[in-house]
């Protein structure tokens, strides 16, 4: 028994050593779907499937900023409300029962996205809408939607360019807002979005090269739209096999969706990343690090001072008709004070007669 216990201790110590060597202390995820309208159902399904994987692997809702540009689950065209499916024949509901969307509808704009990344939000923004990362955070950023060579379209009305995105990441680096950042993009010509990055510790994956289109996977005939994009579909299948303690590394992630399955060529960029991709675990970005320390100390809470007042309270009348009618004072037009007009005319007449003589007086009277 002692022998097994010592083996277990060694194993734990080994795990503990590995645990502390990864360099980051917390995980964040920013998942953005930028498309509006019912026929872009697949982009919302893409984002929700990554959300689901990330939550399953341990990142809590408070560390996920989820931005969905349109509502598909409770859309009136959805034959099964409150569901978003990723596989045809309605096999997997990625929307689930426990979802918290931080930015939805018209709030998903380029400005809000950049403000979330750089942290320059108005002071009244609630915590769930902020990316409160520090210099020991690993951040996963996932973007999906319609894009082109060097830009990504937001809600069919504005776009973000790859230069803006690279500058935002540089701002994040200079403000020490991330330790390592994994950027995944699933749009047409997605590789163009990461070619301008210049900040350190960035790793990027895209679903297609410049000049190629990312294709969608399969439609569901009952729902009537395409359910997922190919790259994210195979990414979801890959992530479903990952569990919080798995040791798969980034090289396996680069192999997801080869050209035979995806039709487009997925690309990746690791030259800005300091560690070797083979030593980076998937759970470094998709899972969560949480350190718990048990303490046996007790903390004494102080008692607030309570004052007791003796006053009689009562409920208010909901529709006090007589009070309402007499509430508004009658609109009185302003009149000049009494006798003012009379005095004014007397003054005018006096001046007139003084100037032109009293003989005109008989014409008046």
């Amino acid at each position: 028994i002692f022998f097994f216990y010592s083996i277990h201790l060694l194993h734990t110590a080994d795990n503990a050593g590995q645990f502390f060597s990864s360099g980051h202390t917390n995980n964040w995820a920013v998942l953005v779907c930028t498309s509006r309208f019912w026929f872009n159902y697949r982009h919302v399904a893409n984002t929700l499937s990554v959300y689901r994987s990330v939550k399953r692997l341990g990142i809590p809702d408070s560390h996920i900023v989820l931005m969905l540009a349109d509502d598909m689950a409770c859309n009136h065209r959805n034959p099964k409300p409150a569901t978003v499916f990723s596989h045809k024949n309605m096999e997997l509901n990625v929307y689930g029962d426990d979802v918290e969307v931080d930015y939805r509808g018209y709030e998903v704009t380029v400005e809000n996205f950049l403000r979330v990344l750089t942290g320059r939000l108005p002071p009244s923004t609630p915590r769930s809408k902020r990316l409160l990362s520090d210099d020991r955070s690993n951040i996963l950023i996932y973007l999906t939607g319609h894009g082109g060579n060097g830009f990504l379209k937001f809600q069919d009305s504005e776009e973000i360019s790859n230069v803006e995105l690279a500058d935002a990441f540089e701002q994040m680096w200079q403000k020490r807002r991330y330790n390592e950042l994994l950027f995944i993009i699933d749009t047409c010509q997605g590789a163009s979005m990461y070619e301008r990055f210049y900040s350190p510790n960035l790793m990027a994956l895209a679903s297609s090269q410049v000049g190629e289109d990312s294709l969608s996977h399969q439609p569901d005939l009952a729902i009537g739209v395409h359910l997922m994009d190919r790259y994210t579909f195979y990414l979801l299948e890959f992530l479903e096999d990952i569990h919080p303690a798995s040791k798969t590394n980034m090289n396996d992630l680069f192999k997801v969706c080869p050209k035979s399955q995806c039709v487009s060529t997925p690309g990746h960029r690791t030259d800005l990343f300091l560690r070797d991709p083979g030593s980076v675990l998937i759970t470094d970005f998709f899972g969560s690090v949480r350190k718990v320390e048990i303490t046996m100390e007790t903390i004494n809470l102080t008692d607030p001072i309570k004052q007791v007042e003796q006053r009689k309270y009562s409920y208010v009348d909901q529709l006090p008709v007589s009070e309402i009618i007499h509430q508004k004072p009658k609109q009185k037009d302003w009149h000049p004070p009494d006798g003012f007009i009379l005095g004014l005319w007397t003054l005018i007449l006096l001046v007139f007669f003084k100037l032109y003589g009293m003989k005109h007086l008989k014409h008046i009277f």
Binding site: K80, P81, A82, G96, K129, P244, Q310, R311, Q318, K328
Partner: protein, 577 residues
């Protein structure tokens, strides 16, 4: 030795519900009640109303710092103390309540999101506090409440009186806003469920599954916070948090056309226990239209019956008490079954209901018509109509007409605040006396404004929403209402405080309007740039070339032999060929 765990670590304290005493402190009281009322409707649909009430005796005001929240959710408690809120009412609704088919709801709500707040009189900057409050609530409820700003906030002067106790009603501290476009989905239900003491793990909240709740004709969830009297003497106040969820299931969508409803069919779950923290956990089934059991049959049968006066009528209910183990029977689960036998009988017509629509044609002008129906045969009663119209529909108030039965009906009170472009919406409040058995029509003409092109939403061709009108009224009741507010009553009958016996207070919401504004063609800037650049390039470019281009004669390049000969001649110093 540091013990590292990669899982959630939670200590659960099981204390008897109700009283909790810390050493050296006065007894604090937390109470939690939950109830579900099921009312079968005449069209075969079924109306279920959940109410969860948490009462907490504490004092947030006058600088007292509260740090021990037990059943009361901490997020809301911090919001109340930080923003000096006296009352907060927020509701999220999907669908429109059809008063004529379904009767009156227990808690009315307009489509979309509605938020109205009474602040304490210690607040100096109400508008700034309101803006911060809406931002914080948008984070708590995962809704776009941060779109509430001065362009859709109004300050009603008579409509929304406080529902809790209070003496001062200075309307400077009241703010009201609606977002008719707001979508309600599981992401709003999830944080709402997390505010409950038992979460969605025990008690009636187990039934709240989003796949069934949103596949319905009407779904509304609301949070109401207000101070209430603690006991009959009303010397101390407690904070009451009511979370209500109203849902109407459609006969054809959820029951496949068969007039047979059960808890499992409605919610895809059955009940196994009450919430351990609840002092009372009950289900009421409305059997007033079924005294001898000839219309529908309820199983399992229950001996408990209760009568309550609600919405001006005395209704009889079968009661299932979930705190008694006997309710669950030998199978340890409760699945109520309501089977219809005959479909005769008609419903009592609601005394007050309202409609609203836009008339007119084209994209320049229009007319808003609001119709209010008084179905009482001989009594007339007053209604207070509140209309909040966005600034881009320019109302012409001189065209306002109020007619009942063809004759002019002059309101006894009108409060109108005109709009300011991009700053403030129109606010119109009128107190109108509705004659018995009549239709009152309120019409006003408007003109549509042209927005700046950055102010359009990404999908402007959908249209722009105008929030519902609110009609508050004291409707004559059939039976005497109970004015004693402190007696133990079921939750659904104690929502609106009752001051007189012969009438009850009711609020009716009209439909929101969807109005098309003149929308520009957003591809025009691109077209203009292309056209202008083409014209400039072709026109100016060719003119410039004509004026500044000079022509020179150039010899064609000679053949290879001639070039070699020229090179040799250059070397010799002889002029080339």
């Amino acid at each position: 030795f540091v013990f590292i765990m990669r899982c959630n670590f939670r200590i659960v304290l099981f204390l008897p519900p109700g009283l909790y005493k810390t050493p050296g402190r006065k007894m604090q009281i937390w109470l939690f009640y939950e109830e579900l009322v099921i009312r079968p409707l005449h069209s075969g649909d079924i109306y279920a109303s959940f109410q969860f009430r948490t009462v907490w005796e504490t004092d947030f005001m006058r600088g007292n710092k509260v740090s021990h929240y037990r059943l009361f959710p901490k997020s809301l408690g911090q919001v109340i103390s930080k923003f000096s809120v006296r009352e907060l009412h927020i509701s999220f609704t999907q669908g429109y309540w059809r008063t004529m088919q379904w009767g009156q709801p227990f808690q009315p709500s307009p489509p979309g999101a509605e938020l109205w707040v009474w602040f304490q009189d210690s607040v100096t900057d109400v508008d700034g506090t309101w803006k911060e409050l809406t931002n914080v609530l948008s984070g708590i409820f995962c809704a776009s409440l941060n779109f509430i700003d001065s362009t859709n906030t109004v300050q009603p002067s008579a409509s929304f009186k406080p529902l809790g106790i209070g003496n001062e009603t200075d309307h400077r501290f009241l703010r009201y806003a609606t977002l008719p476009r707001e979508i309600v989905c599981t992401e709003n239900l999830t944080p709402w469920k997390k505010l409950l003491p038992c979460g969605s793990k025990a008690g009636l909240a187990v039934l709240l599954k989003s796949e069934k709740l949103f596949h319905s004709s009407f779904h509304s969830q609301a949070v109401h916070i207000r101070p209430v009297c603690q006991d009959w003497q009303c010397k101390t106040t407690s904070w009451e948090l009511r979370q209500t969820l109203n849902v109407v299931f459609d006969l054809h969508n959820s029951a496949q056309g068969k007039r047979e409803w059960s808890l499992f069919k409605m919610f895809s779950r059955t009940l196994t226990e009450a919430c351990p923290l609840a002092s009372s956990s009950k289900i009421y089934i409305d059997i007033t239209d079924n005294p001898q059991g000839e219309q529908f049959e309820v199983s399992p049968a229950t001996p408990l019956l209760s009568q309550a006066v609600v919405l001006g009528d005395r209704r009889t209910f079968s009661v299932y008490d979930l705190t008694q183990q006997i309710t669950f029977g030998t199978v340890r689960s409760l699945n109520l079954l309501i089977r219809w036998k005959s479909s005769e009988g008609d419903m009592l017509r609601p005394l007050l209901h309202a409609e609203r629509y836009v008339a007119g044609y084209g994209l320049q002008t229009g007319e808003i018509h609001t119709l209010m129906y008084n179905n009482h045969p001989y009594r007339s009663f007053p209604v207070l109509l509140l209309d909040s119209v966005p600034w881009y529909l320019r109302l012409y108030i001189h065209t306002l007409t109020v007619t009942s039965k063809g004759k002019d009906n002059k309101p006894s009170y009108i409060h109108y605040q005109p709009s300011k472009d991009r700053l403030r919406p129109h606010l119109l409040e009128m107190l109108v006396q509705l004659p018995p058995n009549s239709v009152t029509e309120v019409t006003v003409q408007f003109e549509r404004a042209l927005l700046k092109w950055t102010e359009y939403t990404p999908d402007p061709n959908h249209g722009f929403y105008v929030g519902s009108s609110v009609i508050s009224s004291l409707v004559p009741s059939i039976v005497a209402m109970d004015t004693n507010s402190t007696r133990e009553r079921p939750l659904f009958s104690s929502f609106f405080p009752c001051k007189e016996e012969s009438s009850y207070f009711v609020r009716v919401y009209t439909e929101p309007l969807l109005v098309n504004l003149p929308t520009p063609d957003f591809s025009m800037p691109y077209n203009v740039i292309c056209l202008t650049c083409t014209v400039v390039a072709v026109g100016y470019g060719s003119l410039y070339n004509l004026l500044t281009r000079s022509f020179q004669i150039e010899e064609p390049s000679p053949g290879l032999a001639k070039r070699i000969a020229n090179i040799i001649r250059k070397m010799r110093g002889v002029p080339p060929l």
